[in-house]
């Protein structure tokens, strides 16, 4: 007999279910509710609303801190962003949006079309370049994406562009040769501009389940990640996998995608995200 009222157990179970339903994963959900119980016992918190506020704070703390904001200005030009991720998550579309974001901040942008594999990938990125006023450097279909990346960074240097956004083909992290290709792209970028890419962003679909964690692990091991872009948050999925990713690999979320149009990009706000998770 612990002296805590019956309803506490039910409340903690309900909270754990909200976390699981939001794709936080069993481990993260158990960790959070375990800590929550301790805190509530220490503080003798009984009211459900207070308990929920405590866990929200816990989760916001879990997501905060870490690296400098991803569009921080650095003293190197151009600043190079490499976009990576599995198939269909929204890399190409996010580049279009981010290109517009930088243009409206007064920066000149160059897109590198390093998806040389997928049907009409270059055409898709060209449309986004036209919409956002960015330059586009591309290669022929089937050409070496690392060579295109190398050329693009050099072109940006020559033309004095502020930002390079590199689009890569979607690839499953389980495909060894494709992950090797990605490493080669990153090395080629570094060759063209030592220290680049300055940001390597994993584009994750908010509907992704626990596989998102192994995606972050594999892409992180291969090329190192400086941030996540969580897309399709305009849907009903909550994107809770970012908590586990933050906890295990320390990778923060930089931007979120909230639609298919050029303006549907927002800077990640942990409080808004957690409030939406519990909504």
């Amino acid at each position: 007999v612990t002296g805590t009222p019956q309803f506490d157990d039910e409340l903690f179970e309900e909270i754990e279910e909200v976390l699981i339903a939001s794709d936080c994963g069993l481990e993260t959900a158990a960790h959070l509710t375990g800590r929550l119980r301790e805190v509530c016992e220490e503080r003798k918190t009984m009211k459900a609303t207070e308990v929920v506020e405590i866990i929200k704070e816990q989760m916001i703390v879990m997501l905060n801190g870490g690296s400098a904001p991803v569009d921080a200005v650095i003293d190197v030009t151009p600043k190079v962003y490499l976009f990576v991720g599995v198939n269909g998550t929204g890399k190409t579309t996010s580049i279009g949006k981010i290109g517009e974001h930088f243009r409206s901040a007064g920066k000149s942008v160059l897109f590198a079309a390093c998806d040389t594999f997928r049907a009409a990938a270059r055409e898709q990125l060209q449309i986004w370049a036209d919409r956002s006023g960015a330059d586009l450097v591309s290669g022929d279909d089937g050409s070496d994406p690392a060579a295109v990346a190398f050329d693009a960074v050099n072109a940006a240097k020559a033309r004095g562009r502020d930002v390079v956004l590199i689009d890569t083909a979607g690839r499953l992290h389980t495909k060894h040769n494709l992950m090797e290709e990605l490493k080669k792209i990153s090395r080629a970028v570094d060759k063209a501009l030592p220290g680049a890419p300055h940001e390597t962003l994993l584009v994750l679909d908010a509907t992704t389940g626990q596989n998102g964690v192994s995606q972050a692990e594999s892409f992180g091991d291969a090329v190192g990640l400086t941030g996540l872009i969580l897309t399709k948050l305009d849907g009903t999925a909550k994107g809770g996998i970012i908590l586990g990713i933050r906890q295990r690999f320390g990778v923060p979320v930089s931007w979120i995608g909230v639609g298919e149009k050029i303006d549907d990009l927002e800077t990640f706000d942990s409080r808004e995200f957690i409030e939406a998770l519990f909504a």
Partner: protein, 290 residues
Amino acid sequence: SLGDRLDGVFKSLRGQGRLSEENIKDALKEVRRAFLEADVNYKVAKKFVAGVTEESLGEKVLTSVTPGQLIIKIVHDKLVELLGGQSRELAYNPRGITVWMMVGLQGSGKTTGCAKLGLRAKRAGRKPLLVAADIYRPAAKDQLRVLGKALDIPVFTTDDDAVRIAGQGLAYAKENEIDLVILDTAGRLHIDEELMGELQQMKKAVRPTEIMFVADAMTGQDAVKSADAFHQALGIDGVMLTKIDGDARGGAALSILEVTGRPIKFLGIGEKPADLEVFHPSRLASRILG
């Protein structure tokens, strides 16, 4: 693996002769854990475990020297039964043009799926036509055209609204002795009333023989919501589960099946048109159980 975990649950009880109800319930908790880790929706997981509890509490298990293996067998068999319970053949129209309509969330693999089904039908001696009814995604028509060209399969494109394109594609097929239309639609959110309405209108216009819900194998808990909404709006006939060549456990498959009652018919096992497999329930069952 689940097998190791169940062994762990029962190891400490060895030599007890007969297990208790509590022991079995602990073992079933491990089954639920495995399902959640595999991205099965938590409500679907609960329902499934409830469904196997009675058999797991039977005499056979309580007195078994290998209760863990027996429980896995009960769970595995039930999974296979659920996943594989229905025919996995695509419907053909017995008199007239067959129309397959591909629907689903953004990026799930519909356009690639059109090429895959087109190649399969062509190899089976059919004359497919791919119809590009995605008017929103940049270069969507180009994408389908490039795919069709590589397979020597005709692609119908025109400038109009999506519903009219679908209708005109069907008319074109009729005029050109084509017996199969594979209709590519734009990815959309199940909560987008306007775009879901567009699909309903398209269905009315072309009367599809088969509406195929294309879903990503790595989808998490949300799979139930989107599948349910598409099914309520359109009445889907079958499911194509894509990107199964990754290492996602694929629990979304069970969630989708549970909420729609419709069978998984095909698996996308890669990015090329040939990367299509008819669905095998036992393989996916083992994968979900880990």
